[in-house]
Amino acid sequence: AGGHTTEILRLLSCLSESYSPRHYVLADSDKMSEAKIRSFEQKRAETFSESQFSLDRIPRSREVRQSWISSVVTTLYSILYSLPLTYKRKPDLILCNGPGTCVPVCLSAFVLGLLRIKRTIIVYVESICRVETLSLSGKILYYFSDYFIVQWPDLKKKYPKSVYLGRIV
């Protein structure tokens, strides 16, 4: 959604064609990201002719400031919804940067890993807006990701298992 999409497209900007095909997962309520993604991929196709990508939508797992209890329910629903999608795509890598949408996708991949169906590497990049505190998605995925990247030194101090590369967007 919005800022998250812009950030993640910047993260993708320097990746080689080894990171292909790219499967984008969006919240069903997200109206603007699809256009940004298509525009990004179109530009990419100008340089890398074999550029492949797809777009999938899942139900939004949580509205801003939704209550804790109903969030657990809607997130569980989103995880169940994500399982067949993650199973179908069996990604080698999941890259995400914080919108609520990413939590069920990552957790479904984590589950498939526990079941020995597919081992996916989960890389989480916390938004550049997060200087001192982690987002809720970050707090959860800090424990489930293989690599957790922060963009400001304060967070690296608070979350020692994280990776600090400086500002990358």
């Binding site: 910047r10 990049v125 550049i128 807006c129 001192e132 590369l165 500002r167």
Partner: protein, 104 residues
């Protein structure tokens, strides 16, 4: 206007930008090299939005005020004291991922 798809045109022709603390607005403005005054809304509870604005202020890249001190800030501002905002480096991220997957 209420909403535009892109503020890029307006940003290009502006000499000074006064904005709320939204990250997108701040970063877009700073990347275009325009001086920026960030106005904090004391009544909005969205505290995490302030983190970036405060950091940018600490780094000397933006001026910082609230609605009631805006006029005073405009009167006393020294825009030449603002430091440039270096761009992010996504290539570092690409390099990191390549190492993870043994693609180097």
């Amino acid at each position: 206007f209420r909403f535009k798809d892109s503020l890029a045109e307006d940003l290009r022709s502006a000499d000074l930008v006064i904005s709320h603390a939204g990250a997108g607005s701040c970063l877009e403005t700073l990347e275009k090299g325009k001086p920026l005054i960030v106005v904090i809304n004391d009544k909005l509870m969205d505290n995490h939005q302030l983190e970036l604005a405060k950091q940018l202020h600490r780094d000397g890249c933006v001026l910082y005020c609230n609605c009631s001190t805006l006029v005073e800030t405009l009167q006393s501002m020294d825009l030449s004291a603002l430091k440039p905002f270096p761009p992010g480096q996504p290539e570092k991220f690409a390099s990191f991922l390549d190492k993870v997957f043994g693609l180097q």
